[in-house]
């Protein structure tokens, strides 16, 4: 970056300079990107990192020319010296289709549902390279071979829905590469995939892109992914570039407080007693941008100087930082890791002697599918046994389709079990019906994944918070409101939330409300199904810390379900690994993470992206 300004820029594949994107709105313009500059050199992989709402994807869309037509683009985007912003829409499309390949997060929605894979793959070469149908199909087969789909598997006449997730992402990659573009832009290409696939696809993305001689822009929120695949990285925050430099340098010695904060927010292996370092608050919304340094309201080191905007300036070793008080060299990683220790009580691994709170035996669930006469029976959960001790967390981990959520829904009695027994708090849960069940529900509550859908969008938070108190008649009616405010304060919110609607809250705030609601009846067990998966890293850290604190305070047990192994390790006292509807391994975090017995567990563990800053 700093070193590329000047003579080298003509050699760059992509030059983005002072890119500013504005959405004109009736009540004032919204500036989503401000003065974004970076360069991509030939054969290089550059990572764009940041949380959602920071402008990573918008930057990619600007480069690809896919922005909505009502927004204003200022600054310059040059591809091999050609000014893209000066081209007409048609010229841009012709150039972009050939020279820029795109890989999106969700390949199912990015692939056309009714055109065959062959039709979609050959469209580019026939249009941009003028190949015949036959030649284009040959080329498509060739390309699929290069992304790891052998010629013997003739995919060209199949459709997107017939393929698995990993296969779809390979097809997307082949489509992006088939015209041998100068530049490939991959927007969270592995986020929607299972852990074991992520590493494979990332590696493939990296090697095949280099193979065809293209440069790569990789957009991700995951610093581990960047450290694995990128040469240089650009950290974005609230529409600004806040730090840029060589990926290894930035990751081992972050200079910006935001970059360091992001690193501290990731649970590290073997660090269960540590509190996660969090960044207070959330990414500001476009219409509420702070003046001066945009990170200042969330930054621990902010002072008077931060009221004016710092410039993106080179530091001594060629990293660019936009900060008045950059972290000193060498101390940065230490600062990240010198986080507060959690008090030892409440997180002991010792199993208390009293009986389990929840005991699941031989739990089985079958689903029927298909037309009436050829109905097939599929077992989603095939006999699962586990116990949860009072006040402890049982972590259930597995890939999509392993049956984790089905287990959760059966424990919550949202769906019936085909077979098996659930004993909760000394009673048989499967035997309860109607009013008796509803009354018992007080003791086991749920926090679901989707913070957007979990709260009725038409009710105010005040109303939603009141419901558990009224339903379970928790104390006299006159105290309900005060109690709900207390609960909100317990999860780090306050009374000002009461009159708002869920859509006026951020994702993290919504998830806090959902947790406050679940905690209100003082349950003994909370089933949290992917409760933090939809949240950004820094917010996820806040919620995880909070859930642990609440466990200590209220002695609540969690059935904590996640696909994320590091989150599970951080949260759990006992861990169960699920695969194809079976629990393949159950044990303490130490057992699982240091001495995994089952082959699948080992596979999962080896697929975790590296955390290079955790080397101690």
């Amino acid at each position: 970056m700093g070193e590329t300004v000047g003579s080298e820029t003509t050699e760059s594949v992509l030059d983005v300079e002072n890119l500013t994107v504005t959405f004109p709105r009736r009540r004032g313009d919204l500036t989503a990107l401000t003065d974004v500059s970076f360069h991509v050199r030939p054969g290089e992989a550059v990572g764009l990192v940041g949380e959602s709402g920071c402008g990573k994807s918008l930057t990619a869309l600007s480069v690809a020319g896919l922005l909505p037509s009502d927004c204003r683009v200022d600054g310059s985007i040059r591809l091999r010296g050609t000014e893209l912003t000066a081209l007409s829409r048609t010229e841009r499309r012709a150039l972009g289709g050939k020279e820029i390949g795109m890989v999106f997060q969700d390949p199912l929605s990015a692939l056309h549902p009714v055109l065959s894979i062959g039709d979609q793959l050959t469209e580019g070469p026939r249009r941009h390279l003028g190949l015949s149908r036959r030649a284009a199909r040959d080329r498509a087969r060739d390309m699929l071979d290069r992304v790891g789909i052998p010629r013997t598997r003739n995919l060209l006449d199949e459709y997107a829905h017939q393929l698995s997730g990993g296969m779809r992402q390979r097809v997307m990659l082949a489509m992006a590469l088939i015209c041998e573009p100068q530049l490939v832009i991959a927007d969270e290409p592995t986020t929607a995939l299972d852990v074991t696939l992520q590493a494979q696809i990332l590696e493939l993305l990296r090697t095949t892109t280099m193979d065809v001689g293209a440069s790569l822009v990789l957009i991700t929120h995951d610093l581990g992914v960047v450290s694995q695949a990128c040469d240089r990285m650009v950290v974005m925050y609230a529409g600004h570039v806040v730090e840029a430099g060589r990926a290894r340098t930035v990751i081992t010695e972050p200079r910006h407080h935001y970059t360091a904060g992001l690193m501290g927010a990731v649970p590290l292996p073997g660090e269960r007693r540590r509190r996660l370092q969090t960044i207070a608050g959330t990414v500001p919304q476009l219409d509420r941008m702070p003046t001066g340094c945009r990170f200042a309201p969330r930054c621990g080191s902010a002072d008077e100087a931060c009221r004016t905007e710092p410039r993106l300036e080179p530091t001594d070793e060629a990293t660019l930082v936009k900060c008045w008080h950059p972290l000193p060299r060498g101390r940065a990683v230490a600062a990240v890791l010198a986080a507060e220790e959690r008090p030892a009580e409440g997180v002991s691994d010792a199993v208390p002697s009293e009986g389990p709170l929840l005991s699941v035996r031989g739990l089985r669930r079958e689903f029927t599918s298909g037309p009436a006469l050829r109905r097939k029976v599929v077992a989603a959960v095939k006999g699962v046994d586990f116990d949860i001790q009072p006040g402890e967390t049982f972590g259930l981990v597995g890939e999509s389709g392993s049956g984790k959520s089905t287990v959760a829904r059966m424990v919550l009695r949202l769906i019936g079990a085909t077979d098996g027994q659930i004993t909760f708090d000394g009673g048989d849960l499967t035997a309860l019906r109607g009013r008796a069940l509803r009354r018992k529900r007080r003791d086991f509550q749920m926090v679901s994944q989707d913070p957007y859908g979990a709260l009725n969008p038409r009710m105010t938070i005040g109303h939603l918070m009141l419901e558990p108190f009224r339903l379970h008649e928790l104390g006299p009616a006159s105290t309900w409101r005060d109690q709900s405010v207390t609960m909100l304060e317990e999860v780090g919110l306050n009374a000002s939330m009461l009159r708002r609607y869920p859509h006026q809250l951020s994702g993290g705030q919504r998830q806090r409300v959902a947790i406050a609601r679940a905690l209100a009846p003082k349950p003994k067990l909370i089933v949290a199904d992917e409760a933090v998966s939809a949240l950004d890293v820094s917010v996820q850290a806040q919620v995880l810390n909070m859930m642990k604190d609440l466990q200590d305070r209220f002695q609540v047990a969690y059935l904590f379900i996640s696909h994320d192994l590091s989150v599970i390790e951080f949260m759990s006292h006992q861990i169960g690994v699920m695969r194809h509807g079976e629990l393949v391994e159950v044990g303490s975090p130490t057992d699982i993470y240091q001495n995994a017995q089952h082959q699948y567990t080992q596979e999962l563990l080896s697929a975790i992206p590296p955390v290079p800053w955790a080397t101690r």
Binding site: R409, M446, R458, R470, W480, L498, R517
Partner: protein, 297 residues
């Protein structure tokens, strides 16, 4: 319950501009000027039909043989019909009948359809039985169905209202059922269930409010359909008795004079058009007003 929250509690000042209460209402109204115009138009229409005895110079059924087929003039603003009756008076009094029919039919069919639709959408067993019946009703043309029912029950305003209500119930059921089927699957319904809420509570307090937008739009449509259907039935002679003025009846009378006395059809026709238009625009605005998510733009 919401009263407890809203009244007498001092809330901390909001840290950011989230619109609440009356300010939000003002915002929405500013965003929907057409809704205000339509609302005012409806208000005026209702007012003039209620005040008909004060505004009309003559009784609607007063026959003045010497004034047959007179065009609009100072004495008869809307002209007179083939029997010398004042069109203005007939239109105003006719509005009473037509609006009454429209309103009652809309209320009955929306009310009945909503309850049936909620049950049908939420419980699969009810769905299988009731939807076959609803499909059967939908298969028959509305007007033919109404005519045959009137044939059995006999003509009269009450019969017309009952028949039209039954005819329009399936429309509402379908719309509600569709919304319920989507909302039933949403996370917050499971959340409420896990909290321990009873099914009826979830159905009426959580699912129903989500169905209100399409219901309101349907209600405004059915209101206008009912006015038109009444006109159609009266035109065919199976609707309300000829001696009761309604917009439909007036139009029926004007049929033979379309070329010679345009005022006989234009004025009641305009009344129908204006009412229907205002209703639909107002219904759209109301839908937006009731959805908290559509309010911040």
């Amino acid at each position: 319950m919401s009263g407890e929250l809203e009244s007498g509690v001092a809330f901390e000042p909001l840290s950011d501009p989230v619109l609440v209460g009356r300010r939000r209402l003002r915002h929405v109204i500013a965003d929907h000027p057409s809704m205000i115009v339509a609302g005012l138009a409806l208000l005026i229409i209702v007012a003039v039909t209620i005040l008909a005895p004060l505004l009309a110079h003559a009784a609607p059924d007063q026959i003045v043989v010497t004034d047959r087929l007179k065009g609009p003039s100072g004495a008869h603003l809307f002209g007179t019909d083939n029997l010398g009756r004042d069109i203005l008076a007939r239109t105003l009094y006719g509005g009473r009948t037509s609006l009454k029919i429209g309103l009652v039919v809309a209320l009955l069919s929306v009310g009945g359809g909503t309850v049936i639709g909620l049950l049908v959408g939420f419980y699969e067993i009810v769905d299988m039985i009731v939807m076959r019946l609803v499909d059967g009703l939908m298969a028959l043309p509305a007007l033919i169905l109404a005519i045959s029912m009137i044939g059995v029950l006999g003509a009269g305003i009450t019969t017309v209202v009952i028949c039209l209500s039954i005819v329009y119930v399936p429309r509402v059921v379908r719309v509600i059922r569709g919304s319920v089927l989507i909302i039933r699957k949403s996370t917050f319904v499971d959340d409420e269930r896990a909290l321990g809420q009873s099914e009826p509570y979830i159905l009426f307090r959580h699912v129903l409010p989500h169905c209100m937008s399409p219901v309101i739009v349907q209600a405004s449509f059915i209101f206008s359909y009912a006015i038109l259907a009444e006109a159609g039935l009266s035109f065919l002679g199976v609707g309300i008795p000829v001696d009761v003025p309604s917009w439909g009846n007036i139009l029926t009378d004007s049929r033979s004079y379309l070329t010679t006395a345009w005022w006989m059809s234009i004025f009641p026709g305009l009344a129908i058009a204006l009412t229907v238009l205002s209703l639909n625009v107002f219904g759209d605005g109301l839908r937006d007003l009731l959805d908290p998510r559509l309010q911040e733009r």
